[in-house]
């Protein structure tokens, strides 16, 4: 299985990004102040441009994250284990609410956060346009493909991807009757017994966008007839699947599949031949951060093999690493074995957001 499409930035998007920099009173990223010539320091088994002693003197790291409570706490626990002198704290909320919060804070002149992680690239691009990220080129960037870094490099990177296929309850569905490809989720036998995610989900947006591109706008109109139950998180989808409240889920995330399989749940995962839909998770240091060295150190740690191993093996995360030298996931499967579907033009993808929200909320009766 091979990658199918990779994202890239258009020239127009870059021009727009630079034109929009002064918006909402957010300062220009401090590109020139970057100590470009400084050679990186080795700490533990990774390299960093941060001043580790200063970071420890700052003593704190404030993290805003879209991930659920357990996952967010897990990320902080991993960093804190390696840097016990840096006390970690976090705020978590769904990407929409989190992004509103950080924008409101910055417009009011409050700069409390050091690093932000978002589950959707659309707000990440917007934040970059608004000059919200600190420009910091990590020495660990070399282990990432260009497509998995912001353009230009140094604003945010893909700390992992969250691939999703179809999952079903194996007590209720025989393997022979299980869906094989994306079109099978439209089978009327799943009507009222199928689940999906709410419109706040970045992954759901990607799935809507990619399957519409592949199969046409009629695909989701047919799906609406299935009267799907929609939920906030991947865990809820699998929790209901494990208890047979739903028979199949149209967006079964692989990380949650690993988690529930390890708990002994009767769930199975299907990778449709056309590919798994996937969403990148964007991490970047925020400018005017109260603990700038700690923020840089965190970015380097998160990008490093060490940090990526933590993200990839923590049961509440199980993110698939996009590092070129990433080890296989806990199931022994490597990300490269999956064919992944994600937008080739993120700018066009971002513009489709209103159409997605309208169709998806309408389908769910909102």
């Amino acid at each position: 299985m091979a990658h199918k499409v990779h994202g890239h930035f258009t020239r127009r998007a870059l021009l727009k990004a630079s034109a929009a920099l002064p918006l909402v009173g957010i300062a220009m990223p401090n590109v020139l102040a970057q100590p470009m010539s400084k050679s990186p320091t080795k700490v533990l088994d990774f390299e960093t441009n941060a001043d580790v002693a200063k970071a420890e003197q700052e003593g704190q790291l404030v993290f805003y994250c879209h991930e659920n409570e357990a996952g967010t706490a897990g990320i902080m626990q991993g960093f804190n284990k390696d840097f016990p002198k840096i006390k970690t704290s976090y705020v978590r909320a769904q990407t929409g609410a989190l992004y509103s919060k950080i924008l409101a804070e910055r417009q009011a002149g409050r700069f409390d956060v050091d690093v932000i992680q978002l589950s959707d690239l659309a707000p990440a691009f917007d934040f970059q346009k608004k000059g919200g990220y600190e420009h910091y080129v990590s020495p660990e960037s070399g282990a990432y493909k260009k497509d998995n870094l912001s353009s230009p490099n140094g604003y945010f990177f893909w700390t992992g991807v969250d691939p999703a296929g179809i999952a079903y309850n194996s007590d209720k569905v025989a393997a022979a009757d299980a869906p094989k490809g994306w079109h099978d989720i439209l089978n009327p036998r799943w009507k009222g017994k199928i689940s999906c995610k709410i419109s706040a989900s970045g992954l759901q947006f990607v799935q809507w966008y990619m399957l519409r591109k592949l199969y046409g706008a009629g695909f989701w109109k047919e799906f609406a007839k299935q009267q799907p139950h929609a939920f906030d998180s991947r865990v809820q989808l699998y929790d209901r699947l494990a208890k047979a409240d739903d028979t199949i889920t149209a967006i079964g995330e692989y990380p949650a599949y690993i988690l529930f399989k390890s708990r002994g749940a009767k769930v199975e995962f299907v990778a449709p031949p056309d590919g798994l839909v996937a969403t990148p998770l964007a991490v970047g240091a925020v400018n005017k951060a109260p603990h700038p060295e700690a923020a840089k150190l965190f970015v380097d740690w998160a990008m490093s093999k060490r940090g990526q191993a933590w993200y990839q093996t923590n049961p509440n995360l199980y993110y698939a690493s996009v590092r070129t030298d990433a080890p296989p996931m806990p199931t022994g499967v490597s990300l490269s074995q999956f064919k992944l579907l994600y937008p080739s033009d993120w700018d066009e993808y971002s513009k489709e957001s209103p159409a997605f929200l309208k169709e998806w909320n309408g389908m769910l009766g909102l």
Binding site: F63, A70, T95, P123, D126, A200, A230, K243, R263, S353
Partner: protein
């Protein structure tokens, strides 16, 4: 000095206290309301503040959601009716009859309220979901097909809401019933009226302020109820205003302006209800605590008392024992199912819950905030209740409408107003525990004022006037006459505020900072992000800690209540 001495050309302590507390309430409420209204009329770029253009588009957009409005109305009305029936019947049984175990039941009646609707919703979801619900699993194991009950319906949602808000209605109505002179009921029975007729013709009309206050309060709670509708409604695609608002503000880009317009529109409904409430209570006299002494007595209902005992037990079983037992059972399983299996047993959920640092600090923060909110709140809200219902200060009626605003707007939305307001406030409050304290004092103004006012309305003004005629100053007669008579109401309000703060969800979700986490949002987070078994464990731990805190508080307040008044 009926108009606070203003006419005499000098400002009395009464006027200073009255207007001072009114100013505090106005700042707490109107300051965020300004930002909320600003958002509701903002039709510019939602990410730019202050707004670049204004209009009514957000209100027009509400017409796109008729089904959600209807759903909200159906659930709120059904739940309010059920809660009032539960509250009134239980209050009558425990305040006016000689049902066995009356005192114990009275203590237990407050338990459903601090169990939180969230806990109830989680438990009833495990019990009554059509496929995985324990009751339905047992039903099918007995050879039946399909499901015996489906909790994911509008009436299922209303049922769970009513079970837990019924406790609030009970507290508010019982406080009034307890303060009622029993000689009125006795007189009715002496002249030949039956117990039922006495209850309907004497008891019920006398508790009208309490019932109406409870009705207005409970209905508003139902309109703003979030946790139950989220847990039980969304699986069945049944959205009410709060869950719709939640979706609108979570998505990217969030539609905060439409959410604000939805919230502001609810105020119109509450304004109308408050207007009706005021008209009713000002039309009649409900004072039953007068200068004439009486001893609270209960009616002997004969053998009926065992039936009433059964009713009390039934209520506590479905509202307390069954939900707790369900969560306890789920918390020791890997995947919660009705029938036990050795390989499904685990204690890992407790290990995991106890190892979560965020949860430990969140619990501590919640208890500190609960204590602070209740203590400051009783003073502030007691003074406000006095200002509104007793002071005769010009403009005091207007304050009631101001105070009711937070009740009318779902807290999820009101929290946005508070976030914007306190973000730009020159003193560093945003992101600290102080913000949550301010938020709780604001959103619980209606709860505290309503509870204290229910009792205050029953105290005949002649008692204060008598002290005034004897030459007592306002401060002296407040301390020696009004406050001692209000002690039961104040203690009830303290406990309600404490519990309400510890279980608060809607406002906390948005206003928590990295160093000011509280417990209930953490439980909801767990429901979203971990598993229902771990969530059940967290909810149980919260309940146990709050129960321990409540027992300590009740022991202290009982001592305080027993102190002689000089």
């Amino acid at each position: 000095m009926s108009v606070a001495g203003a006419s005499a050309g000098r400002v009395s302590p009464q006027a200073i206290a009255g207007y001072g507390v009114a100013a505090v309430a106005a700042v707490l409420v109107l300051y965020p309301v300004f930002y909320l209204l600003q958002a509701a009329f903002d039709v510019g770029d939602p990410q730019i503040r202050p707004p670049t253009s204004y209009g009514v588009d957000n209100f027009e957009a509400l017409f796109n959601y008729p089904q959600i409005m209807l759903n909200t109305l159906v659930v709120s009305v059904a739940a309010t009716v059920m809660a009032l029936v539960i509250g009134f019947v239980m209050a009558w049984i425990l305040a006016r009859t000689n049902v066995p175990g009356r005192r114990a039941f009275e203590q237990l009646m407050v338990v459903p309220y601090y169990l939180t609707p969230l806990l109830g919703a989680l438990a009833w979801s495990m019990l009554g979901s059509p496929e995985s619900g324990f009751i339905n699993q047992v039903w099918r194991a007995l050879g039946a097909t399909g499901s015996l009950m489906d909790i994911n319906t509008p009436y299922g949602i209303a049922w769970v809401m009513a079970l837990f808000e019924g406790s609030v209605a009970f507290v508010m109505i019982a406080a009034v019933m307890k303060s009622m002179d029993p000689s009125l009921e006795e007189a009715s029975q002496v002249i030949g009226a039956s117990r039922l007729r006495t209850m309907l013709r004497i008891t019920l009309p006398l508790v009208v302020p309490g019932v109406l206050g409870a009705a207005v309060f409970v209905f508003a709670e139902m309109l703003g109820s979030f946790a139950v509708a989220l847990v039980l409604g969304t699986p069945n695609r049944y959205y009410v205003i709060t869950t719709a608002i939640y979706q609108l503000i979570q998505q990217y880009p969030p539609r905060v302006q439409v959410a604000a317009a939805m919230g502001v529109s609810l105020f119109a409904v509450m304004f109308l209800m408050l207007f009706v409430y005021r008209r009713i209570i000002t039309a009649g006299s409900y004072a039953t605590i007068t200068g004439k002494a009486f001893r609270p007595r209960v009616a002997d209902v004969g053998r009926l008392r065992y039936v009433l005992f059964g009713l009390c037990m039934l209520y506590l079983t479905v509202a307390v024992f069954l939900p707790i037992a369900t969560l306890l059972y789920a918390s020791v399983q890997k995947i919660a199912v009705a029938f036990p299996a050795a390989d499904n047993f685990t204690l890992n959920n407790f290990t995991a819950a106890m190892s979560m640092n965020a949860v430990r600090s969140a619990l501590t923060n919640s208890l500190i905030l609960g204590f602070a909110t209740a203590t400051i709140g009783v003073v502030l809200m007691g003074l406000l209740a006095w200002l509104i219902y007793r002071s005769k200060l010009p403009g005091s009626g207007l304050i009631e409408y101001v105070v009711m605003f937070p009740q009318a707007v779902p807290r999820l939305v009101f929290a946005f107003g508070m976030m914007w307001a306190w973000l730009v406030f020159p003193i560093l409050i945003y992101g600290t525990m102080w913000l949550l304290l301010i938020a709780y004092l604001t959103v619980f103004l209606p709860l505290g004022v309503r509870t204290i006012a229910g009792v205050m309305l029953q105290i005949d003004k002649s008692l204060e006037e008598c002290a005034q005629m004897c030459g007592a100053s306002w401060a002296y007669r407040t301390r020696t006459v009004s406050v001692p008579l209000l002690v039961p109401g104040l203690l009830a309000a303290w406990l309600l505020l404490f519990i309400a703060s510890v279980r608060e969800l809607g406002a906390s979700i948005l206003l928590m900072g990295p160093h000011s986490k509280v417990i209930t949002p953490s439980i909801v987070e767990s429901w979203f992000g971990t598993a229902s078994e771990l969530t059940a464990t967290l909810a149980l731990i919260q309940t146990m800690v709050v129960a321990a805190a409540m027992i300590v508080m009740m022991m202290v307040t009982r001592r305080l209540g027993a102190l002689p008044v000089d």
